[in-house]
Symmetry: C2
Subunit: 198 residues, 2 copies
């Protein structure tokens, strides 16, 4: 049944396609949009379409950007001999927010997942290997600490090490501020294995 007018129902339907938005949230969003000034709705709609159209992968590091070369790869003050490998652009942003990392990145746009049928050729590994032909000091693997992330890290390290390039993996352990009581056993064992001398 069409409880609303068909146009409102259509809007709710298209909003429901977005991740994490169920039918109730979609209805709330739809009515909020209907009550917004028309020019603001147009601005949101135009930004969505324009961003989708203009975004491409950086020719160097494969991150999502609106230029040929992203601002980080194009910055001569960054250390281009240190490459941090991440799964996606959000992970890149997470490290950028720390403000402490001065190297560059390589964005795989995914992780190896036999479960989902994603193999090494489905992520941006070829592009990474090509970058390593240049002079690189260290590759820091910062894929997620999930099964897929670990598989990917292992695969990449086996691929790169023979070339004599230093390969490191970000530490896995108890998060800062974490209460041991609430932390899963896998993480506790990792933290124990990775203990450092004081």
């Amino acid at each position: 049944m069409d409880y609303y007018s068909s146009q409102i129902t259509k809007l709710i339907e298209v909003l429901e396609r977005l991740p994490g938005i169920g039918s109730k949230s979609a209805a709330r969003l739809a009515f909020h949009l209907i009550n917004m000034p028309e020019d603001q709705v147009e601005e949101i709609a135009e930004t969505m379409v324009k961003t989708r159209r203009d975004i491409r992968y950086c020719k160097e590091c494969c991150t999502l950007t609106d230029r040929e070369i992203c601002p980080i790869c194009g910055n001569p003050e960054r250390n281009h001999k240190e490459i941090m490998v991440v799964e996606n652009t959000r992970d890149l942003a997470a490290y950028e927010k720390t403000g402490k990392y001065n190297g560059v990145y390589h964005v795989l746009q995914g992780a190896i997942s036999p479960m989902l049928g994603i193999g090494p050729s489905d992520i941006r590994l070829k592009e990474l290997m090509k970058r390593l032909e240049k002079d690189v000091d260290e590759v820091i693997i910062a894929t997620n600490s999930s099964l897929e992330g670990e598989t990917t890290a292992m695969y990449i390290s086996k691929l790169i090490k023979p070339a004599g390039i230093k390969v490191t993996r970000i530490a896995s352990g108890v998060p800062v501020g974490g209460d041991l009581e609430y932390i899963d056993q896998m993480t506790l064992l990792r933290a124990l294995d990775g203990r450092v001398e004081l």
Copy 2:
């Protein structure tokens, strides 16, 4: 700092304006949109703009609709002598979903709230009074069971009763399936006051 490209940051910013969407959800939505097929993004954007532009208030009941007269008011099989007063179109839809109410509605587009400075002239009361000049058997007040909803219900009943029209209020009490243990005291007292003989 612009961790993403400026265009992605802009998209995240406009999505954050929506209700219930914080910076993390906005980033997730933005990247989802970027990875969607371009025509689907265009469809969502167009639907948003078109709906916002075409939606108006029904000339009869003031609900949000895309025609002069909404499908419910235009349906001759509904009982036009029974008017249910609700705060907004979503509340109307909630009762429509029950499939059991055959009267028509009046949508106030708000509720009286001295706290927010919303007075009787700020909601669609004038339009309701005008409808009552015609032959009406009963006005069912179905505003929310909140302070604003109760205030509005009281105000409307005082306004209508002198005209000799039957005014009722939907029952307040324990929801079906509700466990007394978890229900607030106000609701328990309401349920007690409103008890019916078996």
